[in-house]
């Protein structure tokens, strides 16, 4: 497997994120507590990464954490030799245990359950990638391959045809092998399939996930929602609603940054948020939304916004923005390439007609 370079932008970003957060001098007690808590969690995260790289050590430590306290408590109350030794060497521990033997025995029984719950809670808080993301690399590899696959077939066909009839008109060959609209459709379909593979839980219907591409004009207005998947779930939001300044798409265009709405219902209640209900018929529908702007520097600021919606609250989380960007950016790059080709074809058409 290819080892990730330490100097990639995402690696740098992650390193920056791991810097301890220092409390401002005039902070209130709560803020100070939060800072301490977050620094502690970050240290724990670093420790966890160390343990992940040393799996045998991790297993041994986990076995020790699970087994040692119940072993100590049960033996303290059942074996005189152990009890005497603890009283002599750790009088404070002995005093604590003697204070309420029943409570400590109960804790010894429940210890493994408490530890497992705590571990699950901490892992969910410390995870720096969404669950299911362990397959992100093979999914991306597979789907980017299929984007190239269609193009490769067209190139082959053109080559065979040129072999039979000769290479007469280069511009005709260019027009034949470049089909930007077709490729953009293929790219968006693969965005759907990527999130379907990574986000959709087994048993959930495919209609829970919706992906589309908003075409933006040079004034930053949404012109049309294209390539919506699945196509039997049509886009019902009117353009006037999508073009309101607080809509997620417009916020993505304005800020030129990925927008993540963890819960559409919660966000709709926030008057200064980055989401408004654009279809009143679905105002009770909750879900999670990502809006990813695709800039096209040569002639406009933001040319497209990719929207990914999953009809279950909390599916997408703000803290995993880097993970979503890692998936969406390779597709955005290909969209930009195809859009450039579309521009070149338009210039060629203009040249012919003009």
């Amino acid at each position: 497997m290819v080892k990730k370079s330490k100097n990639t932008p995402s690696a740098k970003k992650n390193r920056q994120e791991k810097k301890p957060i220092t409390a401002p001098a005039n902070n209130a007690a709560m803020s100070w507590m939060k800072t301490i808590g977050r620094n502690w969690l970050m240290s724990l995260g670093t420790f966890r990464h160390f343990l992940w790289r040393h799996k045998t050590l991790y297993s041994m430590m986990w076995a020790l954490i699970l087994g040692a306290p119940p072993f100590l408590i049960v033996n303290y109350f059942s074996l005189d030799a152990v009890s005497a030794s603890i009283k002599e060497n750790w009088p404070v521990v002995a005093a604590i245990l003697d204070a309420d033997p029943i409570k400590w025995l109960l804790l010894a029984v429940l210890w493994a359950w408490v530890c497992n719950r705590l571990r699950r809670f901490l892992s969910s808080k410390l995870n720096n990638a969404p669950s299911g993301w362990e397959n992100a690399a093979p999914v991306l590899l597979r789907l980017l391959g299929s984007v190239v696959g269609g193009k490769e077939q067209r190139f082959q066909k053109a080559l065979i045809s040129a072999g039979n009839t000769g290479f007469a008109d280069p511009s005709a060959v260019f027009s034949e092998i470049t089909q930007p609209e077709l490729q953009m459709r293929e790219i968006m379909q693969n965005v759907y399939l990527a999130f379907d593979a990574l986000v959709r839980q087994p048993g959930h219907p495919h209609t829970k996930l919706k992906v589309n591409l908003a075409v933006i004009n040079k004034d930053g207005q949404v012109l049309k929602i294209m390539y919506h998947y699945p196509n039997d779930c049509p886009v019902r939001s009117p353009m006037s609603e999508l073009n309101k300044p607080q809509s997620a798409i417009k916020t993505a265009v304005r800020t030129k940054r990925i927008q993540i709405v963890e819960s559409m219902l919660d966000a709709a209640e926030n008057p200064n948020g980055n989401f408004i209900v654009t279809d009143q018929a679905r105002e009770d529908e909750d879900g999670s939304l990502i809006c990813y702007p695709v800039p096209f520097k040569p002639i406009s600021d933001v040319a497209f916004v990719i929207s990914v919606c999953y009809l279950e609250r909390g599916t997408f989380k703000n803290r995993f923005a880097n993970s979503y960007t890692e998936i969406l950016e390779p597709f955005a790059l290909r969209l930009r390439l195809e859009y450039s080709l579309l521009g070149l074809k338009e210039m060629m058409r203009n040249d012919r007609t003009g």
């Binding site: 397959n135 597979r142 495919h206 209609t207 039997d232």
Partner: protein
């Protein structure tokens, strides 16, 4: 070549793109594709977990014969 200014070009590109209203994939088509991708990813992960098999399959052990 006739020159097109940025605004004209962008306008023509957008018009061309918006004209593409060809049929896109339905839930059934996407479900079939999704199944295939899940299978491919599973077999990819399986192959990566067995490097010796992957090397054999790619034919890189052929040098032994030469």
């Amino acid at each position: 070549m006739t020159a097109l200014d940025k605004d004209q070009l962008l306008e023509r590109m957008v018009t061309r793109l918006l004209a593409d209203d060809s049929d896109t994939a339905s839930t059934r088509v996407l479900a079939e594709k999704s199944e295939k991708i899940q299978r491919d990813v599973r077999s990819f992960n399986k192959a990566m977990a067995q490097p010796s098999t992957a090397i054999k399959a790619s034919g890189t052990t052929d040098f032994k014969r030469s």
